[in-house]
Amino acid sequence: MEILIYGIINSIALVLMSLGFALVYGISRVPNFAHGALYVITAFITWSLLNTLGLNYFLSIVLSLIAIGVIGALIYQFVLIRVRGMAISEIIASYAIGLAILEGLRWGGFKGLSYRLPVFIEGSVNIGDVPVDYHRLLTVVVGIALVAFIWGFTHYTKLGLALRGIAQDERAAMMLGIDSDRMALVAMAGGAMLAGLGAILLLPLGNIVVESGYNVLTMAIAVCIIGGLGSWMGAVLAAFIIGFAQILSVVYLGSHYQMVVALLAIILTLILKPSGLFGRQKELEERV
């Protein structure tokens, strides 16, 4: 029972961490290695708005989500747009930006254990005989709602359909008058906001530390690769697979193995089936 509940919670947390990465890669084919940095910086912006400016919690969350969306759009507009299509340059450029943000935060004094966001709702409830606090339940609810929202958004709105068009066949979409760069910009901003939302939901459960940026990036890559780069539903399913695998390894092997499981899963998936469990990449593009 404990494994089941915490497995679900952990899986939803992984979904929240990786949805932004999956969205950006799925639409613009840009592996956004600055994902972890965007995740952490949102939490710091929220913290600063909340504690330095003394704004109300909800308002500071909304403001920081807008800010992170603008930051994501700026990164795309001024840097990534120039290297689009060159896979390695994309990785290096976005990773360097992420590194600059994270190490800049560390230099700016954001380190140690003194940075915490308050939880939304205090208290806990017993499900069966397992105590679960309300915040974790809220995370699960928001995570499920978010996945449903994204599904609806991409299937029933004009913008969402345009995004999917670019993801499926960029040239055909351009012939239909969809501006590919604009859509990629929107995707990047949206991906950044999703990363930020994940941070705001997940980080009240612990401290805000710079290192979590690197871990989030690794987990996001793990989830997206196992699910198949570019496949969102694959990413959600993969999050559940890794989520439960991690909880099982923590229970039966020890907490050190949590990361090992994720990393080994990436390596095995890439070796055995590089397009992931649900990816639809062409065979020839990925391996000889």
Binding site: P31, V79, R82, V83, A87, I88, S89, I91, I92, A93, Y95, A96, I97, L99, A100, E103, G104, R106, W107, T218, I221, I225, G254, H256, Y257, M259, V260, L263, L264, I266, I267, L270, I271, P274, E285, E286, R287, V288
Partner: protein, 335 residues
């Protein structure tokens, strides 16, 4: 409105010195040899002009990064395998030499070559399943290897766990240490330049440009890729082994992302695909990052920004730019 364009023309001296005519006059001879001699002599006198022990140590570190950058450049631009796993090579070589040195009591001049060859073999065997992968997939899988090895060592508490292995022999004195790494870098640099112009190098470039054509010619791509990975990883392992003997310590920090990122940055800045460029990039980047050490992690911010700037605005790198200026002149002509 009169339109003009810029045209580039090879310098006469370049054309003359391309063939046997290079031996005709001192001018042509020096046109060819001076740049190479500047690099070789410059590297050799570096330990003398460095003030103090600290900066001499920096020279050794530069050379180790240069080895990694060379291996990255060779793999990425001559074989078409973009490996982000510099730390994987460094870590394998470092741990192997540490084991041979402390457990079996081999002196450095034995343990380093053994770690190089054995490390190359181990890295190649571990990477063998990923060799069919292309582009981003190979890059990500190699990025994951050092992380997973570090976590496994940490989780299983083997090979000294988080403390690492201490009490490794150092080199007899610092001159041996510096000239060893400098000589290794120069030898490998010129050796690789020779290698990529051999028939073997031609096949490597064929694998990069059109692997199906290589396969259609009846050659196994996997064999050639494995050979290239062996060469590159042995270079990385050599660097790691030297590093461990310099610091007399090995630990999880050998798997740090620094060893994967800085060589790539150096390659981008120095000029990709030139082999000299990465060495030059390391000669610039590592001392700069040492100078900025007092700013703490701000130096990482600095060099990330430099990296982004180079990749976005001048992706050819210093060396390609320099070569063009050296070999060609430009002028404006009417269209």
């Amino acid at each position: 409105m009169e339109q003009r364009r810029r045209e580039r023309i090879d310098r006469g001296v370049k054309v003359r010195s391309d063939g046997l005519y290079a031996l005709m006059s001192w001018r042509e001879l020096s046109y060819l040899t001076v740049p190479r001699l500047v690099l070789i002599v410059g590297m050799l006198i570096l330990p003398f002009i460095m003030p103090g022990m600290y900066w001499q140590r920096v020279i050794s570190i530069v050379c180790i990064y240069a080895l990694l950058a060379l291996s990255f450049d060779f793999l990425a631009h001559y074989v078409g395998l973009v490996s982000l796993g510099g730390a994987f090579f460094i870590g394998t070589g470092g741990y192997l030499t540490a084991i041979f040195n402390t457990s079996f009591g081999f002196p450095p001049y034995l343990s380093i070559p053994i770690a190089t060859i054995l490390g190359g073999i181990i890295c190649t065997l571990l990477l063998l399943p990923c060799l069919p992968l292309r582009g981003v997939y190979f890059a990500i899988v190699t990025l994951m290897y050092p992380l997973v090895l570090a976590r496994i060592i940490e989780a299983m508490d083997i090979l000294g766990g988080t403390d690492g292995i201490m009490g490794i022999d150092d080199f007899p004195n610092r001159w041996v240490e510096q000239y060893l790494v400098i000589a290794v870098v120069l030898l490998i640099l010129f050796g690789l330049r020779r290698l990529v112009n051999l028939d073997l190098g031609l096949v490597f470039r064929g694998v990069k440009d059109n692997d199906q054509a290589v396969r259609a010619s009846g050659m196994s791509i996997t064999n050639y890729k494995a050979l290239a990975v062996f060469i590159a990883s042995a270079m990385g392992c050599l660097g790691g082994a030297c590093l461990v003997h310099i610091y007399m310590w090995t630990g999880l920090s050998l798997f740090a992302l620094d060893f994967s990122i800085l060589p790539i940055a150096a390659t981008v800045i120095g000029g990709a695909g030139t082999l000299v460029g990465p060495v030059l990039g390391c000669l610039i980047l590592v001392p700069v990052s040492e100078l900025l050490r007092e700013f703490g992690t701000l130096r990482i911010v600095f060099y990330s920004i430099i990296l982004v700037g180079f990749i976005v605005f001048r992706s050819e790198g210093i060396m390609v730019y320099g070569q063009r200026k050296y070999h060609q002149f430009e002028r404006w002509t009417k269209v």
